[in-house]
């Protein structure tokens, strides 16, 4: 290559520089053109959902696009309506618990707790101390798994698929923990009116510590992959912004509200169970954008782990499963014996039961269930062992008997993973609820969504919608 050629190249480069400088003025030129009306533009309607990869759960957004900018959005919900509230009226009070599992199926324990607390408020009873702690522990573990799913799904929709699988791996550790306690992973139906199904298993404290250690490692890794990733931060920052005033006027709660800087958390504002006795912080954001919501959720997971650890430390009435004199009997064997009437001496024995498969542990039933004969099923050795227990059981499970709260109504809010989850139960004095109404936390957010989306780009819809963490089961009920 000769020197002249190189000079030519340099001159050419300078020309390209000039052209590039002109690029900056392109916006103005475009404005001019639009002002003088030489071009006519029409917006495009794009139907996003109900079956679209980003619309997990089923929802439809009809977006009006100007290029890639959203100028209007119409959010249409109701695709997953399963008549939850009506179904609750069709059976006894405890029958609604499996339905509540299917509200927010990512953190079903919180729904269980919320519903049972509402019915307990109606009945005017209080659960035992140990049960309160267990409910707190299980709620917080659920909250972590919910946040893990939410952040993971958001990251996946931004293209970071690896983070999603890491988070699901962490969730797996927690679900194993839940499985050990409740015997199920997703639809767990753990709580009962007046208590919980069974006590915590042995080794639960150690298992939790191990699971949290692994979860923290995963969270640290994901934090490095996301929070320190320029692309991710750019995609999340100043996107999906909602103002404080708007958030309040729409009735938005949970991480969505806290990201705007308002520290409203049901656990602090109207403490229930033992939240007022445990020290924890409420993380708040500043801008109300997607990045703040992500940050709030990340920090809430750490706070939840803190709550669980503290609650485990203070858990009263530790279980007494092993009898040093060897009076121990597998649950299934005991039930078989009892069916044949060989119940002599059952009362003296300590029965070793696993709360998962083999039924609930008789000997520490009192530790986790309220001493209310009208509400709580008797221990199995009573049911099979004596006529009073059998009668008691019979009265509670037979149609037309069951739990009968006095006439009245009760609303009880708990802090769900997405915000305030409230159950409103009306009793007419019969064994079935007259009306059950749920206040789903993502309903107000979905109402605000069309306002939030306008002005952002089509691609921003994905992380914004992800940060809503809309759960179809909860939203449409």
């Amino acid at each position: 290559m000769t020197k002249q050629q190189v000079w030519l190249l340099v001159i050419g480069t300078c020309l390209v520089f000039v052209i590039w400088l002109l690029e900056f003025n392109m916006g103005k030129i475009q404005e001019e053109v639009t002002k003088t009306g030489t071009t006519e533009t029409r917006s495009m309607l794009l139907n996003i959902g109900p079956s679209h990869p980003a619309m997990h759960g089923i929802v439809r957004i009809v977006a009006e696009l100007d290029g890639e900018t959203i100028v209007g959005a119409d959010v249409e919900i109701g695709y997953l309506h399963r008549a939850f509230e009506k179904m609750c009226e069709t059976g006894p009070y405890n029958n609604a618990i499996p339905y509540t599992d299917r509200l927010n199926y990512v953190s079903p324990l919180i729904n269980n707790v919320g519903y049972c607390m509402a019915v307990e408020k109606l009945l005017g009873i209080e659960v035992t101390e140990r049960c309160k702690y267990i409910r707190v522990i299980m709620s917080e573990i659920s909250r972590i798994s919910d946040h893990l799913t939410c952040i993971g799904a958001s990251a996946m929709e931004l293209g970071a698929f690896t983070v999603f699988l890491y988070m699901i791996k962490a969730r797996e550790y927690l679900w194993e923990l839940i499985e050990k306690v409740t015997g199920a992973r997703l639809t767990i139906s753990y709580t009962r009116v007046g208590g919980v199904k069974g006590d915590l298993p042995q080794q639960f404290k150690e298992d939790t510590a191990a699971a949290f250690k692994q979860t923290r490692e995963v969270l640290k890794e994901c934090d490095q992959l996301l929070t320190r990733n320029r692309i991710f931060v750019d995609r999340m920052k100043d996107v999906g912004v909602i103002s404080k005033e708007d958030a309040i006027s729409y009735g938005v709660t949970g991480p969505f509200l806290r990201s705007t800087g308002i520290d409203y958390d049901v656990r602090k504002a109207q403490p229930y169970l033992v939240y007022d006795r445990i020290d924890f912080d409420i993380p708040v954001g500043e801008n109300g954008d997607n990045l703040d919501r992500y940050m709030v959720r990340m920090e809430e997971m750490e706070q939840s782990m803190r709550i669980v650890e503290k609650a485990l430390e203070r858990l009263p009435g530790g279980s007494i499963l092993v009898d040093d004199q060897g009076h121990e009997m597998p649950a299934a064997f005991m039930v078989d014996e009892a069916k044949m009437g060989r119940t002599a001496g059952f009362k003296e024995r300590i029965v070793r039961m696993d709360p998962t498969l083999e039924g609930s542990s008789g000997s520490h039933h009192p530790a986790v269930n309220a001493p209310e004969k009208k509400v709580v099923l008797p221990a199995k050795e009573d049911t099979y062992g004596n006529i009073e227990g059998l009668m008691d059981h019979f009265k509670l499970v037979m149609v037309g008997h069951g739990i009968r709260p006095p006439k009245g109504e009760a609303y009880f809010p708990v802090e769900g993973a997405n915000g305030e989850l409230g159950f409103y139960v009306v009793s007419d004095g019969s064994d079935r609820p007259y009306r059950v109404r749920v206040r789903p936390p993502c309903f107000p957010i979905m109402a605000a969504l069309s306002k939030i989306l306008v002005g952002d780009m089509m691609a921003d819809m994905v992380p914004t919608f992800g940060s809503v963490n809309m759960i179809g089961g909860e939203l449409d009920r």
Partner: protein, 358 residues
């Protein structure tokens, strides 16, 4: 003449088979590597008589599946363009490999054969031309599908590919100025010289910024994460949303072919192509003076192995990036392309020019 044509045909066959097979293998690599990165096992179900071979039969199973699937044409679409789009896509991806030299000139008797399908004096421009033509397949697919999603995908693809092509060319210009040739074989030969007799004069060492910019721009050309906006599987699903069967398979293949092409370009322009450090036609001449002589065929084979290894390395690197990063947004992508990468590559040219003039 017949012998000449025969030699070219053999070379073309080798290059085509190499590229196509590597592209096919990449589907397996993508699955397995993502699995390793994500603590999974990955695809291992496809088997022939119970032999699974780490899931290596999955590419075969994929092809069978795609060939036997229903070939769906959506109502209201432009049938001709709809069919033409995937064909164009693959058609322009394959010939680009012709200009890639995969080995040194081999001497058989009196005949000297350049291990390159077409020894073009403007090889670089030819490859750029072929890469630019690739945008037609994507745009046509987006427009002819009669679907708003694929329409958006086609729009995104055209603007993205055209924007980054500018940078791609400008970033490679530094290499042309340093090695004073557009012939890829010449460029590779020039990389066989040494700076201060020690450091190989590879493109990445004399044009580090150019290498980085070229890599980024070329990655945007291949439409893979973080630049997979035309696909955007969770936003607009992509320009090929309506395609099924082997027509979709062709887009899929193009994707991987472009990955291989980009790896070949990176190896050729910036990492010495088939050069092995200190390997001369007679054997290894180490800078401390020792000599390790080798037969001619061995030297050639080492060169081909070196090139293959470099290509595989870049394929691996692209996969790693793909499974680590999230995706850009459209305006961010444009900002990155026009306001950051393009000025930087222009500065790179100016600086290179100043150095060349000295």
């Amino acid at each position: 003449m017949a012998v000449e044509i025969g030699i070219k045909a053999i070379l073309a066959f080798i290059m085509l088979m190499g590229a196509l097979n590597l592209a096919g293998l990449l589907t397996w690599v993508e699955r397995k590597q993502s699995a390793v990165m994500q603590d999974r096992i990955g695809a291992n179900r496809a088997s022939i008589f119970g032999i699974r071979l780490l899931g290596l039969f999955h590419p075969l199973a994929d092809v069978l599946k795609m060939l036997t699937k229903e070939d769906f044409v959506p109502r209201g679409s432009d049938r001709l363009l709809y069919t033409l789009a995937p064909i164009l896509s693959v058609f322009f991806a394959i010939p680009a490999f012709a200009a890639i030299p995969f080995g040194d000139a081999i001497q058989i008797g009196e005949r000297v054969i350049e291990l390159q399908v077409a020894n073009l004096p403007i090889g670089l421009l030819y490859i750029f031309a072929m890469m630019s033509m690739g945008v037609y397949g994507v745009v046509l697919a987006g427009i002819s599908s009669n679907n708003n999603y694929s329409f958006l995908g086609g729009l995104r693809a055209s603007s993205q590919m055209i924007s980054y092509e500018v940078t791609l060319g400008v970033a490679a210009m530094g290499i042309v100025m340093v090695y004073e040739s557009m012939n890829l074989q010449e460029i590779v030969r020039a990389q066989g010289t040494y700076l201060w007799n020690v450091i190989p004069k590879w493109g990445v060492l004399v044009q580090p910024l150019g290498a980085l910019l070229f890599f980024v721009a070329a990655m945007a050309e291949t439409k893979r994460i973080p630049f997979d906006l035309p696909e955007g599987e969770s936003e607009i699903i992509g320009y090929f949303v309506e395609y099924s069967g082997m027509k979709f398979g062709m887009f899929f293949l193009t994707d991987f072919l472009e990955t291989v092409l980009l790896s070949c370009m990176m190896a050729t322009l910036f990492f010495g192509g088939w050069q092995v450090p200190y390997l001369y036609p007679e054997g290894f001449h180490f800078p401390w003076g020792s000599l390790w002589s080798m037969p001619h065929l061995w030297v050639i084979l080492l060169g081909i192995a070196s090139f293959t290894l470099k290509v595989v390395f870049f394929c691996w690197l692209l996969m790693t990036i793909r499974w680590t990063l999230p995706r850009f947004r459209y305006d961010q992508l444009m900002r990155l392309g026009w306001k950051i990468i393009l000025p930087l590559s222009l500065i790179n040219i100016v600086v290179t020019a100043i150095f060349c003039l000295r």
